[in-house]
Assembly symmetry: C2
Homo-oligomer: 128 residues x 2
DNA sequence: CTTGACCTTGACGCGATGTCAAGGTGCAAG
DNA sequence: CTTGCACCTTGACATCGCGTCAAGGTCAAG
């Protein structure tokens, strides 16, 4: 399977497949005589795993750890759980921070006439 | 005032002050004979404005627009309000996306024994 | 004059991805 | 066989906001 087909099958762009290979997240792909990368079902499976982990907010480093645990038949599920909980906590922190900013902005906007007059509590707040 | 003092007074790092100047977000600073940048109270005021806007989640482009409105005596507060509401909406979207990921992870973790056994619903989910 | 704090520019790093360029490969139709 | 198009290769540059380090100039106090 060429890289384009693997990309379509896995949901990971060609660009990122090459990138993940370069940074060592995935092993170097097999090559045909032409130099084209050649992927099998296992490779696509691994790429889908990565895509799913990314969709859940894991970073590259964590995904590396997850991949190692995934391929370790004797792994302890506790390690995976710990990674997931740590990520969940971090995501919660970020989500709260963003929600806080949003609320502040909505608060400021509520007190702003929003008409043609120049007076604006939003800008006042930014000045402080 | 040297750049270090301006950084301390405004809460914007030296690095970012130079950066904002290079990308044109702020006008080039005055220079002493030595080549040192020289800042006045107005400059610090503007930098604080930028720091506050950043803390509220505005991006560089939006801050540029806010700065223009800020220095426009005849501005319409409606324009500022529109920027704030657009940013608030975007922040809300991101916050929700992160919270969604967090909830999914907590859900998966809840169903994971988290002991020494290898069986793990989290990894199962990542495989799909 | 020396020392140490401060300034200058420039470059490289992160994280994850897009995009563009210049060139080679594979395959099907003419 | 040739032509053309889709696909592949590597590499470089852009994004966004910031850290950090390096090599050198400046300033002020001792």
């Amino acid at each position: 399977m060429n890289i384009g087909a693997a990309a379509r099958a896995s949901g990971v762009s060609e660009r990122m497949i090459r990138h993940y290979e370069k940074i060592g997240l995935i092993p170097p792909a097999a090559r045909r005589d032409s130099g084209y990368r050649d992927y099998g079902d296992d490779d696509v499976h691994r790429l889908r795993f990565i895509a799913n982990a990314r969709d859940l907010g894991f970073g590259i480093g964590e995904i590396g750890a997850l991949l190692a645990l995934w391929s370790d038949r004797g792994r302890a599920s506790g390690e995976v759980k710990a990674l997931a909980l740590a990520r969940a906590e971090e995501l919660g922190r970020k989500a709260q921070a963003l929600a806080q900013m949003r609320d502040t902005l909505l608060d400021l906007a509520r007190n702003c006439h929003g008409d043609d007059r120049p007076e604006c509590p939003i800008l006042k707040r930014l000045e402080d």
